[in-house]
Subunit: 175 residues, 2 copies
């Protein structure tokens, strides 16, 4: 089983503007991103990411409405929109365990910054894919919310997926 | 004349740990970095970067002691170690103007995060070179200190300069 963190970021490591805006992510990137998630059949996201995706109709737009979505939250009262496909987990480990028991071999970690950091801090991520958009913002939501961890990486692949966009693929070296 | 921002960063956009530690930057990267600075013959840095480089003997170690160093600071009392080569400027524009008048055609902007952000915010950077080290930190000093700007980029080149390190080269699209 492999746990993969996959995000689109600005060149300076921002995943969304402060108001959650990700409209600067291109269609090309989004197709690559949703394609890999569909292939995996699952995604683990934080509560805010879930609500923003729901609000923007992103599950329907990208045919992500038939994959298993694990929302990480401590709020048991969270209303989920599609109980057949959406579940709640309380911790990164629990989310992974549930998906693993359901038979998934590739488990996708997909933001936001707090969730990403908690998976890294718990040494749970095996590989990182980052699609680098050709843009920088002076501020915004970071790939990893401030947290105490440090991980060495091994570069696996660099891929240009459009004229101005590259994908970096790394293995996380487990300490 | 071209203004170039050149930094080594972690995959998530950090230029130094909170205690200014950059020991995770490889020798290979440092040779590429100091090589380009020597070629340009100058570098603009913030006061803290200047003091950290001085403390770590980095100007001597890398033969950067005969290039023009512009330190950006409002503190006129700053003691500079080598008045023949080190000068003080009060603003990004002033630093560029002084170096341009001295005949430099390639002007290097080299951190820290506050200085980098102020050059970007003032729309003064023409190109960005980032050497991506294969590491992530949960926190640290960011490539750009929080600031209000947004710049579109054009990807010029992707270069693998060691097994695990890549250099990204972008043009800043001037608005």
């Amino acid at each position: 089983m492999k746990v993969i963190l996959y995000m689109a970021i600005t060149l300076n490591g921002i995943i969304a503007k402060e108001d959650d805006d990700t409209s600067w992510v291109t269609e090309t990137e989004w197709r690559s991103y949703s394609g890999m998630i569909k292939k995996a059949g699952n995604m683990i996201i934080g509560r805010r990411t879930y609500e923003v995706m729901l609000e923007n109709n992103e599950f329907n737009k990208s045919n992500l409405n038939k994959i298993k979505i694990m929302v990480l939250t401590h709020d048991a009262s969270l209303q989920i929109h599609n109980p057949k496909f959406v579940s709640i987990a309380k911790s990164p480990k629990e989310a992974i365990n549930i998906l693993h028991k359901q038979g998934f071999e590739m488990i996708m970690v997909c933001g936001g910054g707090g969730l990403n950091a908690s998976f890294m801090k718990n040494n749970l991520v095996d590989e990182i894919y980052l699609d680098i958009e050709p843009i920088v913002f002076g501020k915004g939501i970071r790939l990893f919310e401030d947290s105490n961890f440090e991980s060495k990486l091994k570069l696996l692949e660099v891929k240009k997926f459009s004229l101005n966009e590259i994908q970096l693929h790394y293995e996380v070296i487990k300490s």
